[in-house]
């Protein structure tokens, strides 16, 4: 009796072990179905969908789900604090990525995942300087520019940052992002401060006060926006005569939708967007796989042929040609076009990442005045 029960027990244990091994094997072969990418919506997200998300799904069977985001590090902190981590990859402005990395909010990224250029050039030589970081891989060069509604100025057109602040010569509402990003630089640029000295001067109380005074000149005419697609809406609807916004959105509105919008390249604020992986995600490997896919030269070039943001690797830049749908040559609309770079301000990401609190405080005080 005793011997029989022992045999049954042994058989049961073997069966359980076999079942567990089977389940485990089945679990291993199953890949998650969804990867969550946090990004910026609108025409920009559409270009990503066509250049990265859909091809990735096609290649791997993994769906990409997107969450819209307006930048900053605060939302990452809040998401992590909630304890329910649902985001995997985040498309961040480089200064925010740098701050988030310093705060330990991001997973490290192994640069070995990056594919070499089609001609075999290793990634460190192919990517622009500073693009490959411990926590982020910079993918595009974008710029925040001033644009205007052509209908608002039938005669003389504005063509400088100074004109943006000149309500007398160029009357009408001004749409500005409700964030201390770009405001300070444009305020000082309009006072003829050389772009090389902007961040030195903005590092002083006097510089901040000077910027405040300059913004006071247009305070009554300001309409604030928060989402990247709003400036286009404000201009096309005639609510604003001039607006700051992302160059790719303005390009898309004009080239694809025929919106009467012109861009002022004077004082364009060059920025960089980077792929990051949120700390604590259980799909870090998959996130890295996506980043490796999205940063292939051909995929980066595909995005640049849909929206006028410059790819961050040289092999991709060489592949930029005509717009995929309209056949418009894309190079003249890139922020990095030589004629646009003459008066460009390259955003100081180090300064931005270190002055988050200071800028926020300044902005709050200025709004409350």
């Amino acid at each position: 009796m005793k011997r029989r029960s022992l045999a049954i027990r042994a058989l049961m244990i073997i069966g359980l072990l076999a079942l567990s091994a089977l389940l485990q094997a089945q679990g291993q072969s199953e890949r998650p179905e969804v990867l969550t990418v946090v990004t910026w919506g609108g025409a920009y997200e559409d270009s990503q969908r066509r250049a990265y998300f859909e091809p990735f799904t096609e290649a791997t069977g993994i769906e990409i789900e997107t969450v819209q985001y307006d930048g900053g590090v605060k939302v990452l902190r809040e998401h992590l604090a909630s304890g329910d981590i649902e985001w995997d990859v985040i498309d961040m402005i480089q200064s925010d990525a740098s701050t988030a990395c310093d705060e330990g909010l991001l997973e490290p990224i192994d640069p070995q995942i990056l594919a070499p250029a089609p001609d075999g050039t290793p990634p460190p030589e192919d990517f622009m300087e500073g693009a490959i970081h411990r926590c982020f891989i910079t993918q595009i060069v974008f710029s925040t520019v001033i644009a205007f509604d052509n209908r608002a100025f039938p005669g003389v057109k504005p063509d400088s940052v100074e004109d943006f602040f000149d309500l007398e010569a160029f009357p009408g509402k001004r749409a500005l992002r409700k964030s201390p990003t770009g405001l300070l630089e444009w305020a000082l640029l309009s006072l003829a401060v050389p772009r090389e000295q902007l961040y030195d001067l903005l590092s002083t109380r006097r510089g901040l006060e000077l910027a405040s005074g300059r913004l006071d000149d247009i305070r009554e005419a300001i309409i604030w926006w928060t989402r990247g697609d709003e400036p286009v809406e404000l201009l096309t609807s005639g609510q604003a005569a001039m607006a700051t916004g992302y160059n790719g959105r303005f390009f898309h509105a004009r080239a694809m939708e025929g919106a009467p919008i012109s861009v002022i390249w004077d004082g364009q604020l060059i920025g960089f967007n980077s792929w990051t992986i949120l700390r604590g995600t259980d799909q870090a490997d998959l996130a890295a796989e996506f980043i490796a896919f999205a940063t292939r030269a051909e995929n980066m070039a595909a995005q640049a042929n849909l929206i006028s943001y410059g790819p961050a690797r040289k092999s991709a830049q060489r592949r930029v040609g005509l717009h995929t749908d309209t056949g418009v040559p894309m190079r003249p609309y890139m922020p990095t076009a030589p004629s646009h770079m003459e008066s460009a301000v390259v955003r100081d990401h180090h300064w931005y990442s270190q002055t988050d609190g200071l800028r926020e405080q300044w902005f709050r005080e200025w709004l409350e005045r």
């Binding site: 006072l191 003829a192 030195d200 590092s203 002083t204 000077l210 005074g213 270190q354 002055t355 200071l358």
Partner: protein, 576 residues
Amino acid sequence: MDRIGVQHIVYQIILVTVVAIVVGTAASLAAIGFVEAVHYLNDRLLISPYARVLAEDRPGLVAAATLIVPAAGGLIVGLMVHFLVREKRGLAPPDAILAAQTSGPAPGFRSGVASSLAALVSLGSGASVGQYGPLVYLGAMFGNLAGRLRLNLRHQRSIAIACGVAAAISTAFNAPIAGLVFAHEVILRHYSLRAFAPVTVAAATGYIIANVIFNRPALFLVSFDRVEHSYEFVFFALEGVLCAGLAWVFMLLLRFSTNIARRHIAVLWVRPAIAGLMVGLVALWIPEVLGIGQETLRFATIEGAFGIGELGLIIVAKLVLTALCVGFGFVGGVFSPALLIGILFGAFYGLMLPYLAPVPLSGLEVYAICGMMALASSVIGAPLTTILIVFELTRSYDLTIAAMVAVVFANLISYRVIGRSLFDLQLRERGFDLSLGRDKAILETHRIGDYLSTNVTAVSERDTVGDVRQRLVDDHRSEAMVLNRDGKLLGVVRLQGIVNSHADTPVLETAIQSFTIFDEDTSVWQSMEMLRGFLGEAVPLVDRRGRLKGVVPEEAVIRAYLEIVHDLREEENEAA
């Protein structure tokens, strides 16, 4: 011209060009390295506004750095100067001027390097001193090194020094023409074709390295349309006069501060630390006093950046602290502080003017720039250079002409009140008066001992008049030197004085006891001064123990003068 002559000219041209390019390159790279190192230190030590704002979440650290860094920097500078610089002071443009003006020995390379490092620490730790003085000395140091090479080039040292200085200024201001003129106006103090060509090459080399290769930013960029009202030129002239007054106050403060340090602080190396501590204390309240103040310089041209009261306060603080830092031994120049104080004063004047003369004006920028250049030109004694800096940086005729009026009126006054420049004053305190021109300075550096003759009739104190008379007849001379047993000169006997004396009379009784005498240190200039009213053949020259070494005939003094002056004129007028 024969073949050898042509070969010699080709050799001279090639070698002079190579020297200019090599010295220009070295000076320019050193200047860029120096400026970058100062920025690096300013950032690391929380002196620059950029670094301070990045650390704003640690206000305690910023305050501690404000107090400690300049004081500790001062201590390091004091120790470096005391133990590493042979001259026991920071080397500066006056040393470059002296080396180019005279053939005397220049400060050694080790002293030059130590002084430059001390300047780096001074500027890096936020002392209120300027960077252009050390840059000028760096350029001169490389020129001096090239001047030592045996290249068989005439006036090699002075030209090489001018090349180094021109390249340094050209690099620092992105202004090659200003660099070229500065080297002539301040260092060489004359214009000659021989110096003009290599100095131009060096200045252009500095500009190419700074602007084309390293793409250095300009010191300041000002957008200015035009002077809108002709009456404003009167205001510019008045501003120049006021700036001359301010320059005079600056000089007085500098002298006062130097005297205070000498009288009350015996330990040399402690002085800069005390000045640094004062800078730190004031900077807690007025951070604009720290360092070179490039941001403040920029703000001064922007309408609305400063209130009148603030400007007045910063001007006074900067004036006093710069005088304190320089007087107490920080190593650095006065050009940058003069630019800064000048632009602040110009802005102050521009803001005050509407209250004094309620008429339309052309804006703040033009008054700020005029003040900057008027004060700086009075302090460094380089009106042409400062006018050219404005032109090269702004490319605006209107702004340049406005600045020119202010500079001219400032110099008209300051030349009479202060003298040519602060550099001349400093040199005069060291015994070199350049106010009478180069001739005197160079004659001062040549020893008359170089023209010594040993053809002398020397007699013993025990000789009689008869013996001496015979010796003089035999030697065909009319003067004899009376010596004791050790060879010490006791007197001079002249033939006409002993013609009627008795032959047995001891010669010492007839010797002249009070007579003109040179020593080993007597310069050619001094010898000429001493020859006033001299009657005789030759002047005896004695060593430090009073022993006769020989005589310098009157003819030799005149010959020395003619030779040196001829050489000078040749340098000033000769073609390349």
